[in-house]
């Protein structure tokens, strides 16, 4: 589906366009939302956020048509912003006011933190490259287990494998990742 096809469909039948959008970009939006909300929101909230994103996209179709960007870029930016908003609203609701003088608040100096962030980002990227290099089904198992936070049973169901096989493969894959990271002096 090209961006043009989708724009035309949006004019003819917004419902079909919505379905096409979810079929084509649902996984991307879900991955973006998971990336931001993992550990903060439950599955229902994540689904709610994803649907909010698609609704927002459909509401702002005019803006996309006027812009010269790609639909993918447009969707990604709306997804990221909405996910960040959701994350903020969730953490704001849950946050307990902590005094800056409190002993619990330990923050490194701002400059150190920026270095850490970059380093962290690079490490995560590298880790993902290693996971990709594991090959199937190990890549999917590790991604589902640690990125999508799926249970081993759900992964087993998804991949049509036994629970024990998934457990064993996950363990071996992690061992391999550890070996690679050790050989690269990451620890």
């Amino acid at each position: 589906m090209t961006d043009k096809d989708w724009a035309e469909m949006m004019n003819r039948s917004p419902q079909t366009a919505c379905k096409m959008l979810i079929d084509e970009y649902g996984d991307l939006v879900y991955a973006i939302v998971i990336n931001k909300l993992k550990g903060t929101a439950d599955r229902e909230t994540i689904d709610d956020c994803v649907s909010d994103i698609f609704v927002e996209i459909l509401r702002n179709t005019d803006k996309f048509l006027l812009s010269r960007g790609t639909l993918k870029g447009f969707i990604s930016s709306i997804a990221k912003n909405t996910a960040i908003d959701t994350f903020r609203s969730l953490t704001y609701r849950r946050s307990v006011t902590v005094s800056a003088d409190s002993e619990d608040v330990v923050l490194p100096p701002a400059s150190d933190r920026t270095d850490d962030e970059i380093e962290d980002k690079l490490f995560r990227r590298h880790l993902w490259d290693i996971v990709k290099s594991l090959g199937e089904p190990d890549t999917t198992i590790i991604t589902c287990q640690f990125f999508y936070d799926m249970t081993l049973q759900n992964i087993a169901d998804k991949l049509k494998m036994s629970y024990a096989a998934v457990q064993k493969r996950s363990f071996r894959a992690r061992e391999r990742i550890k070996k690679i990271l050790l050989s690269e002096n990451y620890f």
């Binding site: 917004p14 419902q15 919505c18 379905k19 979810i22 079929d23 649902g26 996984d27 991307l28 879900y30 991955a31 973006i32 998971i34 990336n35 931001k36 909300l37 993992k38 550990g39 903060t40 689904d47 709610d48 994803v50 649907s51 909010d52 698609f54 609704v55 459909l58 509401r59 990604s76 990221k80 960040i84 994350f87 903020r88 953490t91 704001y92 946050s95 006011t97 902590v98 800056a100 619990d104 608040v105 923050l107 933190r113 962030e117 962290d120 980002k121 995560r124 990227r125 993902w128 990709k132 890549t139 999917t140 991604t143 589902c144 990125f147 999508y148 998804k158």
Partner: protein
Amino acid sequence: MNKKRKTDEIEKLTALDDDSVEEIAEVCPFLDESHKNRLYALCEKKLNADKNEKKSVLTENHDTEYILMKSKKKPFFRRLFFTIAASFALIVGVTALTLSAKYAMHRSFKTETKDKSGNKTLCEISIESNDCAENNADEISERLVVNGFNVYNFPEYLAFLQGIPKNKNFYKYTAADSYGAINFSLKDLNNDKMPEMLIYNYDTLIGIYVDTEDSSVAEPLFDMDSSPLLSLCEFDVIRYKSSDEPQTEIYYKYIGGKELNVIYGMQSFYYKTFNNGELYEDGSEYAYYAVTKDRLPDEGHGWDGERYSFPDEAYRISESDFENTRNKFSEISIDHIAALPLYEIIPETENVSK
């Protein structure tokens, strides 16, 4: 924004870079078909809600003609409809509350019983809350009322009734509360006098036989073995001795229960013997015992015509053991009792209602 929240936020928002996320979505897509459909349904719902909201804004702010038209007709009917609906809801609510309160206080149901000739009798059974103030009790308890007779301990009452032979038409059972237990008195309705009571021997298990004018028709009035419930009975019986021994009155109290094949019992036996109208002897005896079916006391226990003899020492148990067992019997729930087909348990409703 406090510092702690900021830390969390930075941590989350730098989890993975955009390219990696995009790759993950490609390499390992998360959504299956049903999940996509669910998402689509959610979106549709939200979009529809959007449309409705827009419509309502339109009608309220811009479509003056439409509003004017509506104000002439619909609001009246709408108000009327809401008034009727609200009144109806109020009536239903109040009725439901009243009924539920009443039901909590007084649960009642009726059942039909048949006698031998097939005549149907209506039997009203209700469970009522005990009135603390009236009964000077500490706690509210429930009592079973069968045709107007109060019964506090349901299992005993039902077990008792269950053991009564169906062909015993001439006894009236009355039940009155006494220390939370039951006092049953039996009355021969034909001649309005107490029937002869005999305590039967242990070798046919515990049972109380009614000795009528003709002792040959004596039948077990209460037989634990016939009761599917854990049986427990407690009642006082005033024994009027037969005419050849008019001087002795025996006040007999029995508490018994059955668990599996073990019969537990406590007997308290009071007696007064009169000689020519004067008190000759006044005494009492107690015993707690446990008897098993396959280990019954020798014959000769029980009432021998003059005195009551307790089982051997071997069958005696301590008072605390007895009380522990007795507590077990009391744990039979009301629901269990209520679920039983009472028309079978209460054989002679006609008698009960008199």
